[in-house]
């Protein structure tokens, strides 16, 4: 009953303990009911109903008005994260390319302007660096997740 989930701090290993039907983690206790219902009793004594749905590799969990997403990492696979790559957050059209290869940029520098859903979105540098490559030109259509530029 060990699972690995992706988190901002890197892969997170979760080892569940069992108590009869219940699952335990850090003092929280989850009771599965018949037909897929779940309740969690948290360490502080609060109890709440949980809604869960898996889409792709991601578990979407709703409880107490909050929704969390946990991406499960299959045992043996490595999480491929494109360091320095800036990806299109939405499918859309490239309106403007504001930098070229070799440009030095600071965190926050606008790099590209995309149009999606009839609004303009700016792609900005997340950190200081140098533009290694620009993959699209003005007017190009880009798919969601496409790497637009690479920074070093």
């Amino acid at each position: 009953m060990q699972h690995t989930f992706a988190s901002k701090e890197g892969p997170l290993e979760v080892t569940l303990a069992r108590n009869g039907e219940a699952f335990l983690l850090e003092g929280h206790e989850l009771t599965p009911h018949s037909r897929g219902r779940m309740h969690v009793r948290m360490r502080d004594g609060r109890t709440c109903l949980v809604h869960a749905a898996k889409v792709g590799d991601i578990w979407w969990i709703h409880l107490q008005g909050r929704t969390y997403r946990w991406e499960r990492i299959e045992p043996g696979s490595s999480s491929a994260e494109d360091e320095g790559g800036l990806v299109a957050p939405m499918p859309g059209k490239v309106l403007e390319v504001l930098v070229k290869e070799g440009d030095a940029v600071e965190a926050g520098t606008p790099l590209m302007v995309l149009e999606a859903m009839k609004m303009e979105h700016r792609i900005v540098a997340s950190s200081d660096g140098t533009v290694l490559s620009v993959h699209f030109n003005e007017g190009d259509q880009v798919a969601q997740g496409a790497v637009l530029l690479e920074l070093e």
Binding site: A52, I61, Q144
Partner: protein, 474 residues
């Protein structure tokens, strides 16, 4: 009867309609903005009237004219009224003439890009900073830019023009003084062909993000009987100045000084009309139909009762710069209860696509008092479960606890003031741990492989605690 684009076949509104005509074409221009095809659909199905809804052709005078010319009833104001109000620069001039106060600013009629930019630059020095650039054909924040520093003016003006040309095919821009610390207050009006023009009180829609409203309420939390009367009279005068017939909204900015200024008039039903319906008891769409049919409106004297709040549910990632999100609505479970209304365009199992606006639904609550309405909204948002697509529910919920929202002192910059560096959900480590436990347990139990839920397919679908009960009602 409804019309839909090919990529909207099977969506909720098409299933609610008795008959659907699928418009041919790929782009919005070929489908929802294609007047000829829509008129053909009306004639093919025997429709006798057209309601344009909000967006698309709802504020297009040429369409209103074409509908009438085709011998159909247009459920909206006259083409002339739409024209006078739809061109924001003409509207400002008409309002000045009618004695309705407008925001200090200048209109620039130049069409040519470089000449227009030059004229705008000159006008900007007279209007003063901070200022707003607005598209004359604009609306919904498109073609609009706030400029605080003259150094940013050129880039902003070019961006506003480009967005205006793309969205409306008209790049004319005007400049308004940016009145910071103001409230956005709008007055709902109704006018029938018998000559009666009334107002249904105000809505406050100050809480906006990039000029898109997200939180709307009626009555305004700081409104007084005297100010409502004054603004109501100004709105009625604005409508009468263009011989308005139908439902419409006159938008004002209410400055901290207590002065109010005409912003624009929306010559259609508005997204936030339910809050007015809740507090006045008037079904505005019903009145639109009556008025379009030549009947007198049915509402009596204005009576405002209790408090209503609406929030707009968007498929967007509030914690990531409010980027639009897409995905399946694997679970979509709205709250229920007395005083809760949901106007939704989606239901469980639908896919959120990048084709159209990311607004999914509107959640509206009513309660006898503002604090109770706010508390009901908090509860409703907590109970609203959407899994599979990122929504702004948690942002809206957090908004309900923000001091300016709680005390009613919201202004048009409230969101930027509250979260100048972007919004992030409040930390809740206990809930986060519990959610991790739930994810790991669900994986262990193989809940995703038990395809027992409505809308699930091959075990990849959602797990719902309710849909699996399979209750049968005799």
């Amino acid at each position: 009867m409804a019309v839909c684009a090919p990529n909207d076949v099977g969506t909720m509104f098409t299933e609610m309609a008795d008959e659907v005509v699928v418009l041919q074409g790929e782009s919005i221009g070929e489908t929802y903005l294609n007047q000829e095809q829509i008129l053909q659909a009306a004639s093919a199905t025997g429709a006798t009237a057209i309601h344009p809804g909000f967006g698309f052709l709802s504020e297009r005078a040429d369409f209103a004219r074409a509908v009438k010319k085709a011998g159909l009833v247009w459920i909206g104001p006259s083409a002339q009224a739409i024209e006078k109000m739809g061109d924001k620069m003409t509207a400002r001039q008409t309002m000045r003439a009618a004695g309705v106060p407008v925001i200090p600013g200048e209109e620039v009629e130049e069409q040519d890009e470089s000449a227009a930019l030059e004229a705008l630059r000159e006008a900007s020095t007279r209007v003063g900073y901070p200022l707003l650039l607005k598209a004359s054909s604009g609306g919904g924040g498109k073609g609009m830019r706030a400029v605080h520093d003259p150094a940013d003016f050129d880039q902003a003006a070019r961006g506003a023009r480009r967005e205006a040309v793309a969205a409306f095919g008209d790049g004319r821009i005007y400049i308004e003084r940016l009145l910071s610390g103001s409230k956005h207050i709008e007055i709902q009006i109704l006018a029938d062909a018998q000559g009666r023009t009334i107002h249904l009180g105000e809505r406050e829609c100050s809480v906006q993000r990039r000029h898109q409203k997200v939180f709307e309420e009626a009555p305004g939390p700081t409104m007084t009987v005297e100010l409502r009367e004054a603004m109501g009279q100004a709105a009625v005068a604005a409508a009468q100045a263009v011989d308005y017939v139908g439902a419409g909204t006159v938008e004002f900015l209410l400055a901290p000084s207590g002065e109010f200024f005409f912003l624009e008039m929306n010559t259609r039903i508005q997204v936030e009309h339910p809050v007015t319906e809740y507090v006045t008891g008037v079904d505005i769409v019903r009145e639109q139909l009556r008025i379009a049919n030549g009947e007198a409106m049915s509402c009596g004297p204005l009576m405002i009762r209790g408090h209503a709040i609406e929030v707009r549910l968007y498929a967007e990632d509030a914690a990531n710069g409010f980027l639009p999100s897409i995905g399946p609505l694997s679970v979509f479970r709205p709250p229920e209860g007395p005083g809760i209304r949901l106007d939704t365009g989606v239901r469980e199992g639908d896919e959120v696509t990048p084709n159209y606006d990311p607004m999914l639904a509107k959640l509206i609550v009513w309660a006898p008092s503002r604090p109770e309405a706010l508390q009901k909204m908090r509860r409703a948002l907590d109970e609203f479960v959407v899994l599979g697509t990122i929504t702004n529910i948690e942002f809206l919920r957090d908004l309900c606890d923000a001091p300016p929202v709680v005390d009613g002192s919201t202004t048009t910059t409230t969101i930027d003031d509250l979260w100048p560096n972007g919004w992030n959900p409040p930390a809740a480590p206990m809930l986060e741990e519990a959610s991790l436990l739930a994810a790991a347990s669900a994986e262990t139990l193989g809940l995703h492989r038990r395809s027992t839920t409505v809308g699930s397919d091959n075990g990849k679908g959602p797990v719902s605690p309710f849909a699996t009960i399979q209750r049968r009602f005799p």
